[in-house]
Amino acid sequence: MTAAIEVRDLHFRYAEGTRALGGVSFAIAEGECVGLIGPNGAGKSTLLLHLNGLLPESWDGPGAVLVGGEPVDARSLFEVRRRVGLLFQDANDQLFCPTVLEDVAFGPRQLGLSEPEVRERVTAALAQAGISGFEGRAPHHLSAGEKRRVCLAGVLACGPSILVLDEPTSSLDPRGRRELKELLRRIPITKLIATHDLDLVVELCSRVVVLDGGVVVAEGPTVEVLSDEALMLRHSLERPHALRHLHPH
């Protein structure tokens, strides 16, 4: 079976010289939910941008990113972006339209759908993100949690088969975090979640990839990897509380 996402020996250096990725390889199977963890500056965000073909500089270099078996390049670019929905770290970067309706409709309109179909998608996506009725609101009138949900709706409205999330729970209050977790759990597609929220990883992801210094330093079943205290500390992480209090009941 072809992997939903496969990254092969991916290297990337920013124009100013910083090496962000130094040969990353891993694969995600269809329907899997994988956590991507690692310290600040490990290359997580850079890696996620590659999954959407947003750093074209690296297409000629060594290594490749494959989505559904297809390499990401100029030819497959738009198909890849349709299939892989990317949720950005800063909600303000992603909400670029004057109203929620316009913003969530942005993706579907690019897909060339008719206006009634676009409306249908928007309504469905807002419902899925738990913010029905927000159509007329302006982004600068929303709370951080609401902004995050609108971003998610905007991505879901494109009908992706893979969801890639960059720090989805950052700047959310505990309730917002809990609700977002529930939302994500109910979305039945392949997911890759880059985060520092290790409890989120324990609850949602069956497998984790640990990135540090632009390379994969560990990979395996979530509980097994996150319980390895020495490994966690070595890479500026820690054993999450959720694993310290695993009771048999």
Binding site: L49, N52, L54, F78, R81, R82, G85, L86, F88, D90, N92, D93, Q94, L95, F96, C97, P98, T99, E102, F106, G107, Q110, L111, A138, P139, H140, H141, G154, V155, C158
Partner: protein
């Protein structure tokens, strides 16, 4: 966070607010053109336009203090342009005329933006077949002005919390670095926004 510094009254309920956005945009443009074609010999026509604007403002229930404040805030730009007329002999009359003209145009726009939500204006522009790129640019401009002002506010607070001197020179110096930082951050943000647009199929 200052959420509505730009057009705080654009969502009021009044006879003027209930009018169609297209009607209002058309009327505003009409008034501006009218003001521009009035010859210097007919200042009475300008007074008529001013009276019309005042009537619309009263009907719209937007506080007159706010409107006057906004126009005054923009007045330095007008003075800069009209001031050039003073350089020619007997330019006083022309100066006053230019001043009146520009102030009326400004007043019209301030009134329009505070009686019509911006997204309605964008919709009218799109329907009127304005170039799509221009409409997108205006829409992004409106959206990110709020983010930019928030960001500037946060940076100002951050600076204030570590400023321990009243020295003017110091204030100017850090002020300049805030502006440059803001510029860098905005340009980085522009790149991230572009990425986010591409991620959802923009081409």
């Amino acid at each position: 966070m200052r959420r509505d510094f730009l057009d705080p009254y654009s969502r009021l309920d009044s006879p003027i607010h209930r009018l169609g956005a297209g009607t209002k945009l058309g009327t505003a443009l009409g008034l501006v053109v009218l003001v521009l074609v009035v010859p210097t010999s007919r200042p009475v026509a300008l007074a008529a336009v001013a009276a019309a604007l005042v009537a619309i403002a009263v009907c719209s229930r937007v506080p007159w203090r706010f409107l006057a404040g906004r126009v005054l805030m923009l007045e330095p730009l007008v003075l800069g342009v009209a001031g050039l007329a003073l350089l020619q002999p007997g330019g006083w009359r022309l100066f006053l005329f230019l001043l009146a003209r520009s102030t009326l145009c400004l007043g019209t726009m301030v009134l329009l933006s505070n009686t019509t939500p911006f997204e309605d204006l964008l919709r009218v522009m799109k329907a009127a077949h304005m170039p799509a790129l221009l409409v997108t640019t205006l829409s992004l401009l409106y959206r990110y002005l709020f983010v930019l002002v928030d960001e500037a506010g946060r940076m100002k607070r951050a600076r204030a919390s570590r400023t321990f001197t009243r020295r003017r020179a110091w204030a100017w110096h850090t002020g300049a670095s805030v502006v440059s930082q803001l510029f860098i951050r905005s340009s980085e943000r522009a790149e991230r926004i572009h990425a986010a647009m591409c991620a959802r199929g923009w081409r």
